[in-house]
């Protein structure tokens, strides 16, 4: 019982209090986690299509950060805060272009090498 009181009045209680009112830092941490998951996917997977999907995840984490910062700056009365959302639109455009080109390359590669495993695509290796 004493332990329980100590825990509820200690750091855990403040953490619970903070969890009930998520602020900018929570959004940034979610963005960071998604970014790391994307990086891990790029570094560990062998399938080139899944690597492309991980890149989309990374771009989306960046978008989440842009939007969260834009909202925070709106709340502090910054007149140029909407620029974050404009940036997010351009990130989405670039991601779409990147997916179109990347998947074109995947198809051309599959036609020539008959593989989608990145460790078997070593034509440029000396």
């Amino acid at each position: 019982m004493l332990l329980f009181q100590e825990v509820t009045s200690g750091r855990l209680a403040t953490a619970w209090e903070k969890a009930q009112h998520p602020d900018l830092s929570k959004f940034l941490i979610i963005g960071a986690l998604l970014f790391i998951i994307g990086v891990a996917g790029v570094l560990t997977r062998r399938n080139i299509i899944v690597i492309f999907m991980s890149i989309e995840l990374i771009l989306n984490a960046a978008n989440l950060n842009f939007i969260a910062m834009s909202r925070y700056l709106q709340d502090t009365g910054n007149v140029n805060a909407i620029a974050g959302q404009i940036f997010a639109v351009f990130v989405i455009v670039v991601a779409a272009a990147e997916a179109a080109i990347g998947l074109g390359i995947v198809i051309a590669l599959y036609r020539n090498k008959e593989t989608i495993w990145v460790d078997e695509i070593d034509i440029l290796k000396w």
Binding site: A19, Q20, H21, P22, D23, L24, S25, K26, L28, I29, I30, A32, L33, L34, I36, I37, V39, A40, G41, L43, T44, R45, R46, N47, I49, V50, F52, M53, S54, E56, N60, N63, L64, I67, A68, R71, Q74, D75, T76, G77, I82, A83, I86, A88, V89, F90, I92, V93, V94, A95, E98, A100, I101, L103, G104, I107, A108, Y110, R111, I116
Partner: protein, 229 residues
């Protein structure tokens, strides 16, 4: 920007959903499953955008990503043969040593990022505490002045209006450049995805290369001799 009440519940539900779906995207054995998990992750992130009062970006995210990019991904997965991966005869990750190194790297990165975000945000809070209170009052006044929606449950936002205004006022040159970029991407992907036969048909292959290839595959010569329509 401090959420409260039901917004908090939705925040935790959608952020945990986004992270789990992201993890499963990276770990799923079947590539189609990866794509579907990525779709659910993107939809959860779109819900987070709505919580952040960026309704237009949320709509664009669902239209462009889920409706466009992911459909492209799914059709490419169907074009390439991933059967060996699904049957389990192929390893889906790199060699163990590479995986261990990259996981350690990612763990260090995440520890650093969380520490930096927490420390940095504490500084932000201290600096902006007066501004936030003043701007919150101003914002509440502005929101009271907005039109009621049809059901009366909420008010119409002016987010899309202000985003569109700023996009054309300050970002019109990048906007035009982005349209050229998309055009280049379309032309480039059509170019990349052509077969040798299609390239020969429009006379777009180096003559020396074509001679070598014709020696291997006589059908190519016929394609080339046909008049292009």
């Amino acid at each position: 920007m401090i959420l409260s009440g039901w917004e908090t519940v939705f925040f935790w539900v959608f952020s945990i959903a986004a992270i789990f779906a992201g993890l499963l995207t990276v770990m799923a054995r079947n590539t189609i499953h990866s794509a579907l998990f990525l779709i659910s992750s993107l939809v959860s992130i779109a819900a987070l955008f709505i919580l952040l009062h960026a309704e237009f970006i949320a709509g664009v995210q669902i239209l462009v990503y889920v409706g466009g990019v992911m459909v492209l991904f799914l059709s490419v997965i169907m074009l390439v043969n991933v059967g060996s991966e699904e049957r389990g005869s192929e390893e889906i990750f790199n060699r163990p040593r590479q995986v261990t190194t990259s996981v350690i790297f990612c763990a260090l990165l995440i520890a650093g990022l969380i520490y930096a975000v927490n420390e940095g945000y504490r500084g932000f809070e201290k600096r902006d505490v007066d501004k936030i209170q003043m701007a919150a009052a101003a914002r509440q006044n502005r929101e009271q002045a907005l039109d009621q929606s049809a059901t009366g449950a909420s008010r119409m936002t002016s987010d899309t209006q202000s985003l569109g205004g700023s996009l054309y006022r300050y970002g019109s040159l990048p906007f035009e450049i982005a349209s050229v970029l998309l055009l280049v991407a379309i032309v480039g992907s059509v170019m990349l995805a052509r077969t040798l036969k299609q390239e020969a048909a429009v006379d777009d292959v180096d003559p020396d290369v074509l001679q070598k290839e014709v020696a291997l595959d006589p059908e190519l010569a016929e394609v080339q001799s046909e008049p292009t329509a």
